[in-house]
Amino acid sequence: MSTTWEAVIGIEIHAQLLTRTKMFCGCELSFGDPPNTHTCPVCLAHPGALPVINREAIRLAIIAGHALGCEISERSVFARKNYFYPDLPKAYQISQYDQPICGPGRFRYLTPDGEQTLGITRAHLEEDAAKLIHLGAEGRRAEAEGSVVDFNRGGTPLLEIVTEPELHTGAAAAAFLKQLRQTLVHLGITDGSMEQGSMRADANISIRPAGTVGLGTKTELKNMNSFTFLERGITAEIARQTALVEGGGRVAQETLHFEPTTGRITSLRSKEQAHDYRYFPEPDLLPVVPDRAWVAEILAALPELPITRRERWMRDLRLTFEDAEVLADPPELGDYFEQVAALAPPKSAANWVRGDLRAQLRERDQEPWQSGVTPDALADIIAMAESREISMPSAKAVLTHVIDHGGAPRDVVAKLGLGAIQDESELMTLVDRLIADNPVQAQQMREGRDKLVGFFVGQAMKATQGRADPARIGELVRERVSAG
C-alpha cells in the first residue's frame, strides 16, 4: 500500500518599493550606476550615523496591506536583526519583528477556476542588503580573488510579505505570485521586475501524507527569479522530498538553491549554521502609529484594485476571464481599454485592443496608451467596421494608417477611398462578371460545392481592394449562381 503525498507551500516575497530614496537615508535609488555612487554615512554605517524612516515607504506599505486584505497595525515597531555579512554594513538589518506594519489577512485573486484566497501572515518593512560582486567567479583577474561590495542598493526599502502555508503545487504558487505581482505593480508599490531582482520570492516547502494535517520538516527554496522557475523549482523540490521520504530518508531543514539551467537543487549550507538573529526593538527609531485620517486619505486616493476591476469587467462588460486578465495588465492598458469600451461594444473593444491594435503596435515597439491611436479613434474604427461602413480588411488598413500618419479614421477612409461599396447594382454587375469569368467554379457550385462561395468573395475583395462587404457578396453570389 503506497502513501500519496501532499505538499504544503508558503511563499515569502520581497518587493523593492517605488520610493525615490532609500528606506533610512536620502540617497536616491539607482540601477546600473557605477558602484558606491549612491551612498552616505547612514547607508555606509559610518560611526555615529542614524536612520530616519522614509514616510513614502510607510504609505506604500499601508496600500499594500490594504490590497493584501491585511489589517494595518495601529502601532508598528522597527527591530534590529543581527548577523554579520559584508553586504550588511551595520551588521544588523533594520526590519520588523513582533509588531509589523501589516497584520494577518487574506489576499483574494482570480484564476481561470474562479476566485481564490490565500492567507497572509504578515507584511513588514525592512531595508535591502548591498550588492556583493564575486570577482573570482567572473574570472576577471586571477589575483582579484574574493569579493567587493557595492552599497548603491544597500538600504533600498523592501516590503516582505509572508503567506500562510496553504498552497500545494508549484503551479498554484506561480498563479498566486502572478496575481500578487499584478496587484502590487498596479498600485505603484513596486516595479515587480523579477529578472532585475526588484521582486524576489522564496518558498517554504514540506510534504505530508495526503489527508493529514500536521506539517513535515520544511526546506526553504531561495530566490527564484521568474514565475516559471518558481513553479519548476517547487515542483522539483516536492519530487526530491517525496523520493527521499519514500526511499526511507528524512527531509533536513535547510536552505536550498534551485539552478534553473540544470533543474538541480543544491544546499546553501554555510559555515554559520546556527542563526540567532537576536531581534530587539530599534532604539534609533520611534514607533509608527499611522494616523487614522491619514490612512483613510491614502485609501481614498487609491485606484480600483485589479481584482475588483476584472470582476467588474467580467460581470458588467461580459468579458471572459482571459480577456480581463490580459487587459488588466499593465494598468495603463486597462485604463485604455476602459476608455474604448465606453465608446464601443465592450467585447469588440476587447478584441481590438488585445488583437490588432497591440499586434500592430508591438511591431513598432509602442504601447496603445502611448500611441497616436486615441480611444476615440479606435472606437470610430470599430463603429465603422461593425456597421459595415467599411470592411474588416479596410478597418485594419485604416488602423495602420492612423498609427503611422495620424488623422481621424473617417478622414482616412475618405482619403484612401476605402468606404464600402453600398451601391447594389454595382455589386451585382461585379458578381455577374466574376461568374462569367469563372464558369468552372460556378458550375461546381451549382453541383453543391457551396464552399466555393469563398473563392468568389475573395475575387470580389481583390477586385474592389477590400471595399466590398464580404457578407453581402456571398449572398449575391449564391443568388446569381443558382439563377444562372
Binding site: P41, L44, A45, H46, P47, G48, A49, L50, P51, V52, I53, R80, N82, F84, P86, P89, K90, A91, Y92, V149, K271, E272, D276, R278, Y279, F280, P283, D284, L285, L286
Partner: protein
C-alpha cells in the same frame, strides 16, 4: 589675570568687546593643551583652530560664541579630524562628516581645538579603558579623572579648554565632572542630536557640556539644543535655553534621594553633599526626603540594556568600510573574529559578550526583556517623585576620584562608580553635577535631576546653589 582664567561667558564678552581676539584665546589654550601632562587630548588641531579663529576675528560681527575654543570628546565625529572613540579599531580613522552638535557649535562660532581622551567607546568610569593610555586627574595625577568622558573633564579642570563636550550614557559626563571639580550637564534624552555621536547605547546616549560654571554649560547647551532631522529621537525644544540667573530658591522643593545618601556613599562625599544641600534651606527652598524604590535595581538594569544595545551598535566595526582590519585572514569568519578580537579592548569585549548573551535566543526574556520592564518601573518612580518635588538631589559619585588601577581588575566595582547617575539615565532625565566641596583635597559633585525638558529650571536651581556654595578651588598643578 590670564586669558585662560576667564569663564567661557567672560571670554565671549571680551572678544565681542574687542578686548582680545579669538586667535589670542585659541593660542593661549593650544599652549596649555599641547603641554598635556594629564593626557587629556588624543588629537590637537592647531593649524585648523588658528585658521578658524582668524576667520571669526575677520568677521564684521562676532558670532554668538565669538571664536571661543572648545575641546570635543573623541566619540563625536569630526570631518577630516582623527576620531577614534578611544579604540584601536578606529586608529587612523578620519570621518567624512561632522556630528550635528559640533556643526551647530561651529556655526555659532566655537573653535574646535582638539579631541579628548575617553574610555574605549565610552565604556568605563575611569578613562583607563582608552586604547591610547589613561587620562590623569588634574587634582591628583595618581588618580583617575572619571569616565568615560575623562579627557573632556580633565581638559576643563586643567584649563586646557574653557569648556568641552562629553557624552553621557550612564554617568559619563556627570561622574567625571564630579571627580574633576567642574560642572557637567547631561540634558534630557533627545535634547541634543546624537547624529555623529559614535553610539554606545542608543536609548541612553546623550551629548552634553562640561564647563566651569552652570551659566557656561547653559550657554553651550543653548547653541546645540533642539530637533535635528538626522536624529529621529531628537526633540523639538519648547523654549529657548536661557542663561540662569536665580539667586534664591523660594518655594523650590528639592527631593533628597534617600537610597543614595546612605550606605555605599563615602562619608566625605555625604558630608560635602549634605553641606551643599543645607544651602537650599538658607536660600528659601525646602528639602524633602524622597524614595525611589527601584533605584537600586538601576545598575543591574543598565548593565543589560546598555550592553545589549552596544552589542549591535559595535557590530559595524568589521574592517571593511573603515578602521583597522586583521591582516591575512584565511576566510571571512577569521577576518571578522580577528579584526574585532584584536581591535577591541577587554571592557568592550566584555560588554559586547554580555549584551549578545542578554539578547540570545533562550535568554532574551529573562535578561533583556526583564531589564526593559524594570526600566519602566524606574521611570515611574521618577514620575511619582516629580509630582512632589522640583528637582532631585544626590551625590554624583559614591566616592571621590579613586587611584589609577584600583578597580580595573574588578568590573563590578568599576560599574558601581555610576550607581548614582544610572537611574536618571534610564529615565532619560536632565541632570547635572556641580562641584560642592572637597573631601581629602579631592572634589565632590552634587547631582541634581529634573523632569524631562526642565533644563531651564534645573539650570536656575543649580546656578543659585552654585553661587551659594562658592566652590572656587583649583587643582594645585594647574594654577598658573
Amino acid at each position: 589675570m590670564a586669558l585662560t582664567d576667564l569663564t567661557a561667558e567672560q571670554a565671549v564678552r571680551a572678544v565681542t568687546a574687542g578686548e582680545t581676539s579669538s586667535e589670542e584665546l585659541v593660542r593661549a589654550y593650544l599652549e596649555r593643551a599641547e603641554h598635556d601632562d594629564w593626557h587629556s587630548f588624543l588629537a590637537i588641531d592647531r593649524d585648523g583652530a588658528i585658521d578658524r579663529a582668524r576667520v571669526i576675528d575677520a568677521m564684521p560681527e562676532r558670532p554668538p560664541l565669538a571664536g571661543v575654543p572648545i575641546a570635543i570628546k573623541d566619540a563625536l565625529s569630526t570631518r577630516d579630524l582623527p576620531t577614534t572613540a578611544g579604540s584601536r579599531i578606529l586608529e587612523g580613522f578620519h570621518p567624512v562628516y561632522t556630528a550635528t552638535c559640533v556643526a551647530r557649535l561651529e556655526a555659532a562660532g566655537a573653535v574646535v581645538i582638539g579631541k579628548t581622551n575617553m574610555d574605549e567607546f565610552a565604556m568605563g568610569s575611569s578613562c583607563e579603558n582608552s586604547a591610547y593610555g589613561p587620562t590623569l586627574n588634574p587634582w591628583d595625577v595618581s588618580r583617575v579623572p572619571g569616565g568615560s568622558s575623562g579627557g573632556s573633564a580633565s581638559a576643563v579642570a586643567a584649563r586646557q579648554a574653557p569648556w568641552s563636550l562629553g557624552s553621557d550614557t550612564g554617568g559619563s559626563i556627570r561622574q567625571p565632572a564630579a571627580l574633576c571639580g567642574i560642572v557637567g550637564l547631561k540634558p534630557t534624552y533627545g535634547a541634543v542630536s546624537r547624529y555623529g555621536l559614535i553610539a554606545f547605547a542608543s536609548s541612553l546616549d546623550q551629548v552634553g557640556p562640561f564647563a566651569r560654571t552652570v551659566r557656561d554649560a547653559a550657554l553651550l547647551l543653548q547653541a546645540m539644543v533642539g530637533r535635528d532631522p538626522m536624529d529621529s529621537t531628537s526633540l523639538e525644544w519648547p523654549e529657548p535655553i536661557v542663561l540662569p540667573s536665580a539667586e534664591r530658591l523660594d518655594g523650590v522643593r528639592v527631593g533628597v534621594i534617600e537610597e543614595l545618601m546612605g550606605e555605599g556613599i563615602e562619608p566625605g562625599v555625604r558630608i560635602a553633599c549634605q553641606a551643599a544641600l543645607d544651602h537650599v534651606e538658607s536660600l528659601g527652598g525646602t528639602l524633602v526626603p524622597i524614595r525611589l524604590p527601584h533605584a537600586h535595581h538601576g545598575l543591574a538594569t543598565y548593565y543589560l540594556i546598555a550592553p545589549a544595545e552596544c552589542s549591535a551598535n559595535l557590530a559595524r566595526f568589521d574592517g571593511i568600510r573603515y578602521g583597522r582590519r586583521a591582516l591575512d585572514a584565511e576566510d571571512l569568519l577569521e577576518h571578522y573574529e580577528r579584526t574585532r578580537g584584536e581591535g577591541f579592548g577587554p571592557e568592550v569585549k566584555r560588554r559586547i559578550m554580555l549584551g549578545t548573551f542578554a539578547l540570545a535566543s533562550g535568554y532574551y526574556e529573562a535578561y533583556y526583556g526583564t531589564a526593559q520592564r524594570v526600566r519602566t518601573r524606574i521611570v515611574e518612580d521618577f514620575e511619582v517623585a516629580f509630582a512632589d518635588v522640583d528637582v532631585l538631589a544626590s551625590p554624583t559619585s559614591p566616592t571621590v576620584a579613586f587611584p589609577i588601577g584600583e578597580r580595573t581588575g574588578d568590573p563590578l566595582a568599576m560599574y558601581l562608580s555610576d550607581v548614582c547617575t544610572i537611574p536618571v539615565s534610564l529615565a532619560g532625565l536632565p541632570s547635572l553635577s556641580i562641584p560642592c566641596g572637597l573631601s581629602d583635597g579631592l572634589p565632590v559633585g552634587l547631582q541634581l535631576a529634573g523632569p524631562a525638558l526642565s533644563e531651564n529650571r534645573l539650570l536656575d536651581i543649580a546656578h543659585a546653589l552654585e553661587t551659594a556654595i562658592g566652590f572656587d578651588a583649583v587643582p594645585a598643578g594647574v594654577a598658573a
